[in-house]
Amino acid sequence: MGVGIEVANLNAWYGANHALQEINLNIPANHATALIGPSGCGKSTFVRCLNRMHETDPIAHVTGTVLIGDLDIYKDANPVEIRRRVGMVFQRPNPFPTMSIYDNVAAGLKLNGYGNRHMLDEIVERALKNSALWDEVKDDLKKKSGASLSGGQQQRLCIARALAVDPEVLLMDEPASALDPVSTAKIEDLIFQLKAQYTIVIVTHNMQQAARVAEKTGFFLNGRMVEFDLTHKIFTNPSDKRTEDYITGRFG
């Protein structure tokens, strides 16, 4: 099951660049939450703070509090542990190029020392079914490499890989921006199904996409969160003039 996320006074830097300033928001469990905003507004940085990927860049640092469920991730947990509870799907599909489809999905478990072959088979099958890829790949799970799939399939493979470690939260950083419309529609359908089991945070450039998949939407601008509300309110009756300007296409 998914858990809620509470963010308080979050600040993030890249070197001297203050990329995120005083972010406060509560992300509800088992819902999809969209983050929109122009390029460079900090939305990707924000999701990378939710699984402590931000700090993998040596010049980056973070202050503030992030609660995933009741776990204070910047206080009493190590980053490796957190990333098992908070899965991530990236903008460009990034399957492990030397691994088969099966090994890609099993990678997170295998590399954490999980060796029960029978259970692995089951988990891989379930993850691929949950990411709607099973029917397309079930016959050559161990024959084909992950890199031999199409872009859309690769992205669903990456989703399956993230699901296989059984996270509580799934972060998606523009997961469909490198894909064609058909693949994009498949990913969106998937988000609909997945939020029954996971809390989903999706960064997107595409406002229609946010409107289609998310119950709540946050609008980011210049490293600050301008507005966070129900999606239909953001798109029909935003409280802030800047949100309105952005969604009506006056900038961005």
Partner: protein, 265 residues
């Protein structure tokens, strides 16, 4: 087309000339007999072939692990640190040190304290000579692995060291293996550093603590001798040396290419 010819021509020319000069002296005896005294016909280089194999095995056991660990450090853990810059600089300098100087260094560090020439010291010098090539190619190959692959592993909750070994190094392994082969092929023909270390041996010694024969040494000794018979054997030795290098490289390529799937880049 022209550039292809220019690249391939020297290799083909050397090979054809070696076959022309050396093939006639190649027979079973060459691979089974040890050198005969001057004046006696026949004799072979069995001891030198075995000796070279032993020296290269010892050298690879030293040079490959050290070189690969150094490359991993440079590309993955030490990026941008002073220590990494120092290591990289040292490797580049080491690469430029003439092989005879390496031989003298190992001579004074191992041979003199021990009081005798040995196969071990010869292996050490070859191993040291392999380190810079292996180290720098490993680094280059690891840097070519896209960052998105590293992020994918980290985001799955895989500890960094594990992600480096199981994902990044594995992804770069074809290139790393090529680097090791390059280093291997380069030191396989080294003669100068072995003069002070392995020394050469006309008998069939395979002990690490004793002087040992080596193909390049044997070729050298035979080639500068005044005897026609020895000259012919030197040509044959050179041909065998080249063929052994090609064989070893092909074998490693074949073994490591199995299991790597088609379509993986």
């Amino acid at each position: 087309m022209l550039s292809t010819v220019l690249v391939v021509a020297p290799l083909v020319a050397i090979f054809v000339y070696l076959v022309y000069k050396g093939a006639s002296s190649l027979n079973l005896d060459f691979f089974t007999q040890i050198p005969k005294p001057v004046g006696e016909a026949g004799g072979g280089m069995a001891n030198a072939i075995v000796g070279s194999a032993i020296l290269l095995a010892v050298g690879s056991l030293i040079g490959v692990p050290i070189g690969i660990s150094g490359g991993i450090f440079l590309a993955e853990f030490g990026r941008g640190t002073k220590l990494a810059n120092a290591v990289r600089f040292t490797a580049d300098v080491l690469n430029g040190v003439p092989s005879i100087v390496m031989g003298i260094a190992v001579y004074s560090l191992i041979v003199v304290p021990q009081g005798h020439f040995s196969a071990f010291s010869g292996g050490v010098v070859l191993g040291i000579m392999m380190i810079p090539t292996v180290c720098r190619t490993t680094e280059e190959m690891l840097l070519m692995v896209p960052n998105s692959v590293r992020e994918a592993a980290l985001a799955l909750g895989v500890p960094n060291w594990r992600s480096v070994l199981a994902i990044t190094v594995k992804t770069a392994s074809p290139g790393i293996i090529t680097g090791c082969m390059l280093a291997f092929a380069r030191v396989a023909g080294e003669t100068a550093p072995l003069i002070f270390t392995a020394f050469g041996n006309v008998g069939r010694s395979t002990k690490l603590s004793e002087p040992i024969a080596a193909l390049p040494l044997q070729i050298y000794v035979y080639a500068i001798s005044p005897y026609d018979e020895w000259h012919r054997l030197a040509w044959a030795g050179a041909l065998v040396l080249i063929m052994l290098i090609v064989l070893a490289v092909s074998l490693v390529r074949y073994v490591t290419s199995r299991g790597v799937m088609k379509g993986a880049s």
